[in-house]
Amino acid sequence: MATTWNRRDFLKTGSAATLAALAAGAPMASMLSGCSLTGSKIKPTADTVILLWMAGGMAHTETFDPKHYEPYKKGMDANGVLSTFPSIPTSVDGVSFSEGLESIASVMDRATLIRSYVAADMGFILHARHQYHWHTCYEPPQTVAAPHFGAWVAKELGPKNPVIPPFVDIGQRFTLGEGEELKAFHTAGFLGSEYGPFLIPDPSQGLDSVRPPAGMNLKRFEARNKLYTELIKQSPLEEVSSGYQKESLKRSMEQAYILLNSPEAKAFDLSSEPKESYDIYNTGRFGLGCLMAKRLTEQGARFISVTTEYEPFKGWDTHENGHSRLVDMKKQIDGPVAKLVKDLEESGHLDRTLIILASEFSRDMLMEGRPGATVKNQVKQPDIINEEKFYGMHRHFTDGCSVLMFGGGVKKGFVYGKTSDERPCKTVENPIKIEQLHQTIYHTLGIPPETNYVVEKRPFYTTPDGVAEPVMDLLA
């Protein structure tokens, strides 16, 4: 236990020190403003956040907010198609999902479903910009590097278990199209790289990130580390010099050694999951990401993001064949998401774990942008559908998106907000913007809405100007 405490102490002092060290435009913890320190205390209802990211724009009418269904017929009128799937009941009376989400429908009684998320209006639609905005709460570009909200959580709360990195990001590769744009928000920005994401692009390879290098057994790994510590002791400069760089170098190495050697690292090893359970999760990389999220949560993770992975024109980014593509996407998410909820419930973690399933915006067959702010179409969509590839939601729609939440203090079996039953299926009740959503999440974690740091002498808040408030209606 004693060593654990040392680690924890290190994490605290280390972080304060890093902040202070970022000299140019030094983001100093805003002690002077006192906001984050003396603001009213919020009692947290969650310790861990799992973000299930539906990258590429998940159509609400095809998933959690089904509308009038029109089966495919050659020569059909596009304007008559609001959903390309029939509705199915859920475990909550009067709440329907779209076909293909039967498992998640069975846990709707544990969920809060927001049907009125309204994405930003940023002109010509670009996935990477909307994703940047969703994850950082700031519209790009920014004059200072805005942190991912996982980095904010990591910074404010630190790791829950000192040997598990506080911000783990599962499933996104950066070598695909728009990779640079994705990198721009997968960062701790001005908070400093130590709060940045621990990247696990492929969950089935996750263990590699936390075990000794390939081909090195534990014995050799320990011997190597011993040699390192002894060489330090022998260095003639060791006695005459100290200083924060050196101390932090030594401590960070020690910490890495402990992580790579710790029993918690097993959480990254999916092969030790019982086969029956593994098979349900194994719908591909996203499903296995959910499995890793479950395992990490049970070992004390703080913030985990699992993505279906963004790649232009892949995944949820359906520019054609929307209907048939979504059959596959639903298969990918339905089993693992429901299983994740049930497993965490069973192990007693769901109450203190907030799960959020969301996407950067929604889609519609005809409307690009939103009513009143339509933008240049990016997809050709004939009014009369003669080919099946035109049957689906192919345009980017920003005025009505679904966000599903479980656990961590949100209501159960609750639906918030409403979209129109006529095209355009836009939000007609209780619109929620990203800053409110973020503040609601921060609220469940006990992070006050006015939390900020001074960067280049200006306060930089978790959400713009720190004015947004949590949506208390969502909370139990």
């Binding site: 000299a23 570009p141 390939a214 011997a223 060489l231 170098l249």
Partner: protein
Amino acid sequence: MRNGRFRTPAMACVCLLTGIFIIASAFGVAQEPVPAEPIAEAVETEPFWLWMLLGRFHPLIVHFPVGLLCVALLLELIDWKGKSAALRNGILILLWIGAISAVMAVIFGWLLAGNEGYAGTNIEIHRWLGVVTMALSLLTLLFLKRGWIAAYRYSLIVTVLGVSLAGHYGAMVTHGEDYLTEVLPLSKPEGEEGSLASNNPNFVLASLKQADTLTLSQQQDLNLEVRTIFAHSCYKCHGSDKAEGELRLNSKEAFFKGGEDGPIFVAGDPGNSDLIRRIKLPAGHDDVMPSKGKTLSEKEIEVLTFWVEKGAPWPDKEKSIYYLAPLAPRRPELPVAQGDITQPIDLLVDQYFKDNNISWSGTVDDRTYIRRVYLDVVGLVPSPDSVEAFVSNADPHKRETLVKNLLNRDHDYTQHWLTFWNDLLRNDYTGTGYITGGRFDITEWLYQALRTNKPYNQFVSELISPTKESEGFIKGIRWRGTVNSSQSTEMQAAQNVSQVFMGLNLKCASCHDSFISDWKLSEAYAFANIFADTTLQIARCDKPTGELASSAMLFPELGTITTDAPTPERLKELATYLTQPENGRMYRTIVNRIWAQLMGRGIIEPVDIMDNLPWSQDLIDWMATDFVDNGYDLKRLIYQILTSKTYQLPSVSINEPGYLVDKDYVFKGMVRRRLSAEQFADAVSKVFTPLYDSTSLALKRLPSEAIENAPFPRASLVVNDPFLKALGRPSRETVITNRTSQASLLQALELTNGSKFSEALHRGAAEWKAQYANTDSLVAALYMRALGRPATPEEISLVESAIGPKPSEENIQDLVWALMLVPEFQLIY
């Protein structure tokens, strides 16, 4: 009935006290308890002495109910089964006294709170908890007397809870809100003694205190100091955005008007000024100001008190609270050379040392020096041969010769300094914007400019008034879709030019009038408009104002922009105006950046805020002027610094990185630095085996001469990757002027099991094994190459005992890994 004898006198007592209270109130003496926040009026009428006296008995009396009621409950608990009637009788007595004293405590407390100006939430909670508890105690008494034992017991428990809570709130009022919590770790900081918010170097309170009457200028200075304190500590709640208690302190008019209770000060009488009373209260007190965050420092309180004493002068002609460093160059006289201190930098530092009672701490040895200058000039560790040749060279000018030779290695120099300039000029080989043609790199131009050591004035000119090759800097990064008007490419140019070349932050003012400086929105737009092809429309916080921007320099004294000239002409004017020698600020900025790069800390910090005070004004001024006088020569500047005795001082270790940006920082020598990501990668490549192969190079962006003249694929020339990123190479979406020296877990993981480093260890070990069959020869070679010194006998035997006399490939991998992670390798000493 058995307790009847208590009834009469006790009731009489209660009646008597209540009577006194009612009669007194009826007298209508103007002393009726004044409600919360007596503020200034309280001074005018002193409350009736008796009420004050009785009030002051509250703290005495209040302990009776607290103690007695608790003991009553305790006894009740002890005898829960109710066996002892005697005990019950005792409890009854306790309850009687407890209840009566509770009534008295409430009455006295009411008087006290009313007469002595207590106010706030805590006092209100305390007040009503007290009243409720009093009522409860009477109720408990009633229940017991009626024999309703269950009700009595519950009531007693609730009463004790009430009295405890009331007591707690009372304690917070008298002892401070954090009375309990302040002894816990992480409690709230108090203002440091002696710190002043302001930047004004000329303000000395003591000298003002000696003056009988203040001159206008002195009044302005004093008032400036006061407003700086207000801005720093009070504006958050009492400024333009917020007026808690209807009070604003951000203008003369608002300050004199006061808050919801009227004026907050009495001119000439600090003792009766609520402002002064409240800032002097201890942290946590209900009335203390600031109520959030740090309390004011003693010096700040002294300034405010003195100001009120002098009648709170607030001249109509205010001085700005924001210090703006002078623009013009300055040529301080050099101190006379003494002994071996002859070099100008050393002379000025010597003066600084004398002023600060610091003595020269010596000069680093040859091995330390050669490693330092190699890393600082060409970014590489020296080879064993060069180290030995240098150490054995007896020439007294060998250090100067070494630096000169290194600076002449044009490509090596360029490939090191490219990293610094890429960060500063936001130039990268990959990144956002390229995908849609919304960004242009300047790599070829930059490489050539560094290789030919382009004079800095010309260098800046070509970036501002660019050719095709150098236009990427002011073109900014254009994202598709609509962007916030403060992020238009023209505004990006304005922000980046002012930050990079002038050490001036225009980011606030590009959205609204700045809160942290005097820069106005219109000035930011006028500057941005110089870069615009079509006149910019001014938007405040992204909302169009309908006004059109003019075109003007931030410092009009530098020149007038011809508004109707075509953009290239305007940019030419801008370049000429900015780079003229009269723009001392620009040259101070670059000199300071280079100094910070070589010494680990600028003469001014942060290096982007050139309005902060330098630790030596003479030094920065002299160096900037000298730089201009001698051809704007960056290499000459580097030479000058590296050959100074100042640079050769032993490095200083800093335990608390915050100290580096502290305004009380004292210079004693180079601050120990960590190798940058690029220096570390290149060191691995040079010492052991190349980390990168040619496929990693940014071939599309680099000039062929860079690739042809690189000893191996240097890290400054490769596309950013997870390894360099973990070690601190930023993504250059915005201007980066400082990298952290702090290590992190993600970094350590990358070094411990990341593929880049591991693969290099594998590759290199095979070659090394072929060359070094024995551990001792291996260790000897490795130490010389990595650390520039022979291994000690202890080190050799340590390694031998760890890996045996004949190393395997794995042994070599492990040894190299271990050695490259020791601080001696990773730091510049």
